[in-house]
Symmetry: C3
Subunit: 241 residues, 3 copies
């Protein structure tokens, strides 16, 4: 599941066929999760215009969400291929990390393809490397030489500077700024408005909203404040609030 050497699609490049697409430009997609992230991701997919969305999977029993059908519970993921749906977009928020990790494992074992959802107003450097299963929101900047591994989520207006490395399943909230060369370990959460100077962040860490990170953060540590200081430990799989 390592980040692949796949150039991104930016505001000026959105009619380019990405290497990952393999000529199979339009894929019928189900969005996993009918909440805030699912809603936002649906509109980004529609704005991109590269895929068609068949509906959502969600465990809450409803008929529709955003005028599209709920196709079944999350557990029906493995059966999607029989319904001619070959792509999925993972829209489970960071509060349900265990569910996210289970779904990622199922996506792999089911032969489904996790699509990248890149908002057309994002700027993605042609020399950045994007994995798969990503969500990249409006007005995000991913700069030269940055590397974004599989299943990362980057919300609106965040800046990922040059040569930053995000490992798998990193959650970056809105209006975050990561300085050049910063490295962030897998399953880490970075809260809204946080600012990270050049640093190394361990896996499964939590950077609280509005923090100013001025030095390295060890794995599973919760940091907070300006400058950020450790305020607790996090279980490997936990709720972020």
């Amino acid at each position: 599941m390592a980040a692949q050497s796949v150039a991104g699609a930016g505001a000026l490049q959105h009619d380019r066929i990405l290497p990952e697409e393999g000529g199979n430009l339009f894929v019928k997609v189900a969005i996993l999760g009918a909440g805030g992230l699912g809603k936002v991701m649906l509109e980004a997919i529609q704005a991109e215009g590269k895929h068609s969305v068949a509906g959502f999977l969600d465990d809450q029993v409803r008929d529709q969400f955003c005028a599209l059908p709920i196709l079944g519970p999350l557990a029906s993921l493995a059966g999607l291929r029989r319904r001619k749906i070959s792509g999925v977009a993972l829209a489970i928020g960071d509060r349900f990390l265990k569910v996210r990790l289970d779904l990622i494992a199922t996506i792999w074992s089911s032969g489904l393809r996790a699509i990248n959802v890149v908002h057309p107003t994002a700027w993605i450097s042609p020399s950045s490397r994007l994995g798969q299963g990503l969500y990249i929101g409006p007005h995000v900047v991913i700069h030269a030489g940055a590397s974004i591994a599989d299943y990362c989520v980057i919300w609106s207006g965040s800046v990922i500077e040059h040569d930053v490395r995000l490992d798998e399943n990193v959650f970056v909230a809105s209006s975050v700024s990561l300085a050049g060369y910063t490295e962030v370990g897998r399953d880490t959460f970075v809260g809204i408005g946080a600012v990270l100077m050049r640093s190394r962040i361990g896996e499964s860490a939590t950077i609280a909203a509005g923090s100013l990170v001025t030095k390295d953060v060890t794995a599973k540590t919760v940091v907070m404040g300006c400058p950020a200081r450790a305020v607790g430990r996090k279980r490997a799989v936990a709720y972020h609030s």
Copy 2:
């Protein structure tokens, strides 16, 4: 004056006729206020290319502002229709809240139309609901399901996440980030660089510049700091500095 169910105009949608426009695409407009906000709003209107600007109203006696005529003092607002000007853009800053509220009342009683000024580089979700008389600046994000009531002002680069609700006449300065589901009461001011986690902000509150809001704020309260704490009370109509 509640927010109406009107889809917004975004970077990729700026040639779309909005429901509010009713086919009457080009309106001759006067900008109320010849200061910083007036200047910024003029350029956004010109970048949008949807309306023509006849000039400014301002109480300071001058001939011109930004190479356009000063048409008279603010009190001449009610007579604009006789001059074939049917639209107005409210460019009075938050420091003059009483003047703003008086002008809003006059706009309504005069049968004028308060236009929306949406910078063409802003991203506005098609499922957001925009009122009238708004200014939305460059690179702003208004996300899915957000609701922005009449006469709100949102400066450059601010992010309004999904399902946020801004009541009437909320002032959001530059580079502000409002997390999903946040609710902000009418006549509230949010200062430059503030970050609001999911919260409810009462009416006529003041969120000082650079604040990190982590919990609800009651009406007429001034909060400041990271995390933000109450530091004073505000009269219903007051100056924000």
Copy 3:
């Protein structure tokens, strides 16, 4: 070296010929510095599509950088015109201020032209005034009446509000927000995520990352924190970390 009255090139204006260009639209350019800023600047020049890049100058002995040749050390700058290279882009970071100032002097004495590099996703007000030798990154906003003097660098997503004045060689990191009417003296560094309320900042000052500046800062002063307070003095030419 004062800022010239030259209208900027914005997202909607990038096919416009700037007054500074004098009809000489495509210039063969060398980038001074083969590091992070050089890489980012190369991609912005390529995205703009206005100039061709012949290679880099850098003192570190290498053959190539970003698939382009290293043309020689920085000291070979004065000989560039003999190689039919008439433009330069200054990509030396703020940590080497003395080197930057020496190169600026050499550019002037060599009759080379320092080009402006403006990312096509930046929004530049037509009433702003831009000097030369600038780098302006993706999603930056430069608003009405702002004045940016020669050799300033403004990283990704920063907001320069209306009527702001930056003197020569000011460095603005990513995701910075400068309120309207702010004035910043020459050779000053503004760190990532800083927020400046309306204020006057003296020359050669340092605004640390994440600072909230609420009042004026005197020359050569280092300020830090929310609100920012003086924490030290800076030599006229120094390293910023």
